[in-house]
């Protein structure tokens, strides 16, 4: 019962010669709402497919609710997985889809599914639904299992902002009801920053940043100040990213104490800014070099 919902240990997945995921080690805490962030092709879908038992690891191991999803496929009955694009049978009617789910899931909860499907005509063909309705149907199928772990791959990809917001509300309401752990993969940080309390940021198949949102926000600051040779600034542990604009230098730093140096303006950083900074492809090597060449930085 108390084993973490998702544990990866040295996990790797190779497609022919290319590694989609490499040396991934992480533990998702129970009850967390995890934002799985990263640019396209960072390995987000691969990780979710491995967790859902759709793919087999090339190396290392993955454990879902305490079991190996390939060796103990029964565990997948407690995992609600919605693949990218919410694949459903387009020629089925909504009610057939629900009936199929009811018959194939021993823990089927009609109430939850019904709540998600209000305002959707149950006799409509799935292929005739709007993107928002289809997303809701897919979520209903996933949550109707009363899963302990929910895995959603880019659930907001084809939705307008209103439909995305509504889906998020339904998802969070389901989480409140079920107490499930959720992993939502999205390359659009704005979509998930509202809800996630834990972040796993993948870039190039590796974990670039991982941790509780609150801790991440507390341990990062944005410093703005005059351009000048940098000694060390008290309270700054590491410079993550820096950029010049005119006569001003802006740095995203990790802190190990309060920064009181009056020559710097210290600001908090939003989760979106933080993730974008870590996502940027090249990490600027060292501060001295930066003094000579002003690089442009695209957020």
């Amino acid at each position: 019962m108390s084993s973490p919902p998702l544990v990866a240990d040295g996990l790797g997945k190779r497609f022919r010669r290319d590694w989609a995921l490499r040396d991934l080690t992480l533990t998702i805490p129970k009850g967390a709402v995890v934002g799985l962030a990263g640019p396209n092709a960072a390995g987000k879908s691969t990780l979710l497919s491995l967790a859902a038992g759709v793919l087999a690891p090339s190396e290392g191991s993955i454990s879902v609710l305490g079991d190996d999803p390939l060796r103990t496929p029964e565990i997948l009955g407690e995992v609600g997985y919605v693949a990218q694009g919410a694949p459903l049978y387009r020629s089925f009617r909504v009610e057939d889809t629900i009936e199929y789910a009811r018959r194939t899931n021993s823990r089927w909860d009609r109430e939850i599914a019904v709540e998600l499907l209000t305002r959707i005509d149950s006799r409509a063909k799935v292929g005739a639904l709007s993107a928002g309705e289809r997303a809701r149907l897919a979520l209903a199928l996933a949550l109707g299992k009363r899963p302990r772990l929910v895995l959603l791959d880019e659930p907001f990809a084809s939705l307008d902002p209103l439909a995305a917001r509504e889906l998020l509300q339904l998802l969070m309401d389901g989480v409140a009801e079920l107490g499930a752990t959720v992993v939502v993969a999205s390359h659009v940080v704005a979509d998930i920053q509202r809800v996630c309390d834990h972040i796993v940021l993948l870039t190039g198949g590796c974990v670039r940043l991982e941790g509780g949102v609150e801790e991440l926000l507390e341990s990062h600051r944005l410093l703005t100040g005059p351009r000048r040779p940098l000694g060390s600034i008290r309270g700054v542990r590491e410079v993550v990213r820096e950029r010049y604009s005119g006569r001003q230098l802006t740095m995203l730093v990790t802190t190990d104490g309060p920064i009181v140096d009056p020559s710097w303006t210290v600001d908090r950083v939003s989760l979106e800014e933080l993730l974008l900074a870590y996502m940027a492809p090249e990490r600027l090597p060292n501060v001295r070099k930066m003094e000579r060449v002003a690089l442009r930085w695209h957020g």
């Binding site: 009850g31 509300q169 969070m172 309401d173 409140a176 704005a190 509202r194 309390d197 210290v266 939003s270």
Partner: protein, 130 residues
């Protein structure tokens, strides 16, 4: 009943924003002893936030003795942060209004005023720490 709002760009954790909004309301007297806070489900439905986050904010407030959770009934305000009299607030506010008026006369726009207030506040607090 208090209604929460979120600023995603502030860099302040969601649960802290909720804690602060409750405390502000307690300070200003818009929430009083016995008032009920919205349920976790209500806040989730309203803001599309993570229920764990709301629960955490309420737990924090409870630990500080500001609210009390009654099983099956909801979360209620247990004590207030409003000063015995709101008199000093009113006076300080008037002074601030006068200051703002002179700042505007001096040609400062809203952003400059904000910048001036926040740097002064920060430096003043830093001096007290040092």
């Amino acid at each position: 009943m208090i209604e929460f709002h979120l600023d995603q760009q502030s860099g302040v954790a969601t649960y802290l924003q909720i804690v602060r909004q409750v405390k502000d309301a307690l300070r200003l007297g818009t929430l009083d002893v016995g008032d009920q806070l919205p349920t976790v489900r209500e806040v989730v439905a309203d803001l599309a936030v993570n229920p764990n986050t709301v629960a955490k904010a309420y737990r924090d407030l409870e630990r500080e003795g500001l609210v009390v959770a009654r099983q099956g009934r909801g979360t209620f305000v247990a004590s207030t942060l409003a000063p015995a009299s709101l008199q000093p607030y009113a006076e300080l506010r008037e002074e601030l209004e006068r200051w703002l008026a002179s700042a505007r006369v001096a040609g400062l726009d809203e952003e400059s005023i904000r910048a001036l207030i926040s740097t002064t506040l920060r430096e003043s607090l830093a001096r007290r720490v040092a």
